[in-house]
């Protein structure tokens, strides 16, 4: 189930919030939240709900073992981490490895059919944060397995983040307060996220789709336009989802960390990664990069650390070569920035922004196109000028004309215009709520109209 579906909005959400707020005490509220979280996951993945329960239970047992048997803490920790990582590896990477091995050896390993369970990368990283922090002594053991399962399966952040670490919600799992103002603010945040997804992201996506699916007449300008459209799509899609997650968390009394901070205003790639998918960058920084030695080591080791972390970041996003290339591309850019830091800082801000924005646009092209030959062709076409027959492009799918109208809007709103406006103008809560209702109505209209499915042979 996804937040932008009618099933979530019309079926799941009213029932879940209704049942939750009807319950008086914390225990029952947690139980309702757990039951609905499992239903949320099972709706799309009926069988894989057992996998998430098993993963949470493994972490629970691992944690219990580490605390009960301090002498065996390290091996228990290692076994638990290996188990959880293996679970992710099997479902996410085994098919990819088998496919690659098949290319080399010609042997069919019969592993093409492994279906990736939704959200496995997110919930595995969350569970790992519990196990690692417990091992480090930064958090207390969670003795109640249901509470741990609630943390792992909590539906607002279950399938697309932000990656909420256990220590962030450790206290809130037992003691949190819900309020009308928090719920209203949470709902407003949810609505903004929903609108970002269904009004902006889904529309600009069409521009990229039409251009990438055109077989001829597409030149450099069109490919840059497609890259820009996809850059906007992925931002509004992902940050919209994070907004929805944070908003939903707020409704139920949780404070989830921010995941995006206007990443496209960045003037360097280093800054970009401080603003983009913040919870993932911090996870890798705290659990991989720093334990490897971070940047306070020899230049060679630092370079190794960078390559390892960004190789893994790429792999985390998907099991394909383009994701690895995408990760390493950022490793190279970050290394270059570090090495040429002084030079870059002397350049005008606009240049920094232009370089960063262009580099990020290119990165999303690598991210988007899994077929390496096609990727190479598209990248080459972006840098070798060839004219574009825009008329033919529009004629191939005229809906692109409407969709393109959303691009300027997307570009403007990718900058902190609204945030600055809110700082300067105090808007009464009633007006905010009214705007939110309007935005909700528009979003619902966009969702139901996307299922427009006329049938012409119907009793005229």
């Amino acid at each position: 189930m996804v937040f932008s579906s009618m099933t979530f909005l019309v079926f799941f959400l009213p029932l879940c919030t209704g049942a939750y707020f009807l319950c008086g005490n914390r225990g029952w509220r947690n139980f309702v939240l757990l039951a609905f979280s499992l239903l949320f996951y099972a709706w799309g993945e009926p069988k894989n709900v057992l996998l998430i329960i098993a993963a949470a239970f493994a972490a629970y047992l691992g944690g219990l073992g580490m605390c009960r048997f301090p002498k065996a803490k390290k091996p228990i920790f290692a076994v638990t981490v290996v188990l959880l990582t293996a679970n992710l590896a099997v479902f996410k990477y085994l098919g990819f490895l088998a496919r690659e091995a098949e290319k080399l050896t010609g042997i069919d390993f019969g592993l093409h059919e492994i279906v990736l369970p939704i959200g496995i990368s997110f919930y595995t990283f969350q569970i790992l944060s519990y196990v690692i922090d417990l091992y480090r002594g930064e958090i207390a053991l969670q003795k109640n397995p249901l509470k741990l399962l609630l943390y792992v399966s909590l539906f607002p952040q279950l399938i697309a983040g932000p990656i909420v670490r256990y220590k962030t919600v450790e206290i809130e799992l037992s003691r949190r307060s819900e309020s009308l103002s928090a719920a209203a603010s949470g709902w407003r945040r949810f609505t903004v996220g929903l609108a970002k997804k269904v009004i902006v992201a889904n529309k600009v996506a069409q521009v990229a789709e039409v251009i990438y699916s055109s077989s001829s007449g597409v030149g450099a300008l069109a490919y840059w336009l497609a890259a820009l459209a996809y850059t906007m799509q992925i931002y509004y899609d992902f940050s919209g989802y994070s907004d929805m997650a944070i908003g939903l968390g707020r409704i139920f009394g949780f404070s989830f960390p921010e995941n995006f901070d206007y990443p496209y205003v960045s003037r360097s790639i280093t800054e970009f990664w401080r603003r983009w998918h913040i919870s993932l960058s911090r996870w890798f920084r705290d659990y991989i990069y720093i334990p490897l030695g971070g940047s306070r080591t020899t230049r060679l080791k630092w370079l190794r650390n960078l390559l390892v972390v960004w190789g893994l970041t790429g792999l985390w996003h998907g099991a394909d070569w383009n994701f690895i290339i995408w990760g390493l591309y950022f490793a190279v850019l970050l290394a270059a920035e570090k090495l040429c830091g002084r030079f870059l800082s002397r350049l005008p801000g606009l240049f920094g922004w232009l370089y960063t924005f262009a580099a990020v646009n290119v990165s999303w092209v690598i991210f988007n196109i899994t077929d390496l030959r096609r990727l190479a062709k598209v990248l080459a076409s972006m840098f070798v000028y060839r004219p574009t027959d825009f008329t033919a492009l529009v004629m191939a799918d005229s809906s692109v004309a409407n969709a393109a109208l959303y691009l300027p809007l997307a570009l403007v709103l990718a900058f902190p215009v609204v945030r600055e406006l809110k700082k300067r103008v105090r808007v009464p809560e009633a007006a905010l709520n009214l705007c939110c209702l309007l935005l909700m109505a528009l979003s619902l209209a966009a969702i139901v109209s996307s299922s427009f499915d006329p049938f012409i042979y119907f009793r005229f």
């Binding site: 009926p46 009308l180 529009v394 619902l444 969702i447 049938f455 042979y457 005229f460």
Partner: protein, 391 residues
């Protein structure tokens, strides 16, 4: 927190919760049957089974049902489509007129050609061959099983049979008629050999033939069936209401893309009409529309008559009895054809069993109704459809 804000927030959250719950209640307890904006049955919630839950079809069904049943969903769709069609037409009006001889795609199935004609893609013969072979075999065995009555086939070519950009024809008609073991005099077609042919004989926004096309079809069919006195138009009327046809709906431009609706007026001889065995006053609403009335929303089927499993016309003349196996294209000429026969039985096999409660048994039907001639009439959809079997 200010107390006033608490009230504001409570009202805000309450409104949203009540609205979403009302949508759910509507879907669960008071579902609508028809999605009128899309001319189809509305999806409704179904009971889950273990299998449908595990394979996800139940969940997909819930999403479809909630999309259709949510309060104001129909109006929301119409509004979104209206706005986006207007915006698109506004942006691309120059392109529509400068690229009149090129297809401009509006949605997966519909393009604009010739400035303002909504057209379908040309079908590929390779894709159609298996179905055409099946249908030709079925028609051949139908004719062989009923040697006592002559069987006639009329094929209506349309936009799916020709690429207007290249002038290349799909060849489905030639392929089908070539495979039929019928005398040449028993086969005929409305041929479309250019965009000009199409534009003259078909609607701009609907997939049916217009008054000129259907009248031409009527004359062709009459000649095919052995001649007879054709009814001539007593006049030509352009209605006040405009037609926003099936392709306008399909491309999301209902109400935005529309056209004038003109029809010939005929002096039909008196005849009784029975629909699915029940006497009906008339078929279609031609006279009502000519008199300035008729249903508010003008459609091809609303004007000429809708699709039914069985429609029987009886002029009481004691003339020959005609069986017509067809689809919606024949709606426009049923009364015309019926005027020249004793009794005319129009059967639409897509609906026959569901609406009459009987299986269509061709032999029994022909015997019990004293059928003298059988006509199969339709466009490519008719000859490809699995629902239209003659077994």
């Amino acid at each position: 927190m200010h107390k006033g804000n608490n009230w504001v927030n409570a009202l805000f959250l309450g409104c949203i919760w009540l609205f979403l719950t009302a949508c759910l209640a509507r879907a669960a307890f008071f579902p609508k049957e028809i999605s009128s904006e899309e001319n189809r049955y509305a999806n409704r919630l179904s009971r889950p089974t273990a299998a449908s839950l595990l394979d996800g079809s139940f969940q997909d069904g819930v999403e479809d049902a909630l999309s259709d049943q949510a309060l104001f969903s129909g109006r929301a769709r119409s509004a979104v489509n209206l706005v986006s069609s207007r915006v698109r037409d506004g942006l691309l009006s120059g392109l529509y007129s400068s690229q009149r001889d090129r297809y401009i795609r509006l949605c997966d199935t519909v393009s604009i050609f010739g400035g303002d004609y909504l057209v379908y893609d040309t079908r590929r013969l390779e894709d159609m061959r298996p179905q055409l072979d099946k249908k030709a075999a079925a028609i051949n065995s139908f004719a062989a099983a009923h040697p006592q009555i002559p069987v006639y086939v009329y094929y209506i070519e349309k936009d799916t049979d020709i690429n207007f950009e290249t002038g290349e024809k799909a060849g489905a008609r030639e392929y089908l008629t070539g495979a039929l073991n019928l005398p040449d005099s028993h086969k005929a077609a409305l041929e479309i050999n250019s965009f000009e042919d199409y534009a003259r004989l078909f609607y701009r926004t609907d997939h049916h033939w217009n008054y000129k096309g259907s009248y031409r079809g009527y004359l062709d069919v009459l000649e095919l069936l052995g001649g007879g006195n054709a009814l001539t138009p007593a006049g030509q009327v352009t209605l006040d209401k405009r037609l926003s046809g099936s392709k306008a709906i399909e491309s999301g431009g209902k109400g935005v893309r529309s056209e004038e609706f003109t029809a010939y007026r005929f002096d039909f001889p008196p005849m009784t009409v029975a629909v699915n065995g029940v006497p009906a006053g008339d078929y279609g609403a031609q006279e009502e529309y000519f008199a300035g009335g008729g249903p508010e929303e003008l459609t091809y089927g609303g004007f000429y008559g809708a699709d039914y499993g069985e429609i029987v016309f009886d002029t009481g003349s004691g003339g020959e009895n005609l069986l017509i196996l067809g689809e919606s294209h024949d709606n426009a000429i049923l009364k015309l054809l019926a005027s020249g026969f004793g009794r005319t039985f129009a059967v639409d096999l897509r609906y026959y069993q569901a609406q009459t409660g009987k299986e269509f048994d061709a032999w029994d039907y022909i015997q019990s109704n004293g059928i003298d001639k059988a006509l199969l009439i339709g466009s490519i959809g008719f000859y490809l459809s699995d629902e239209i079997t003659l077994d």
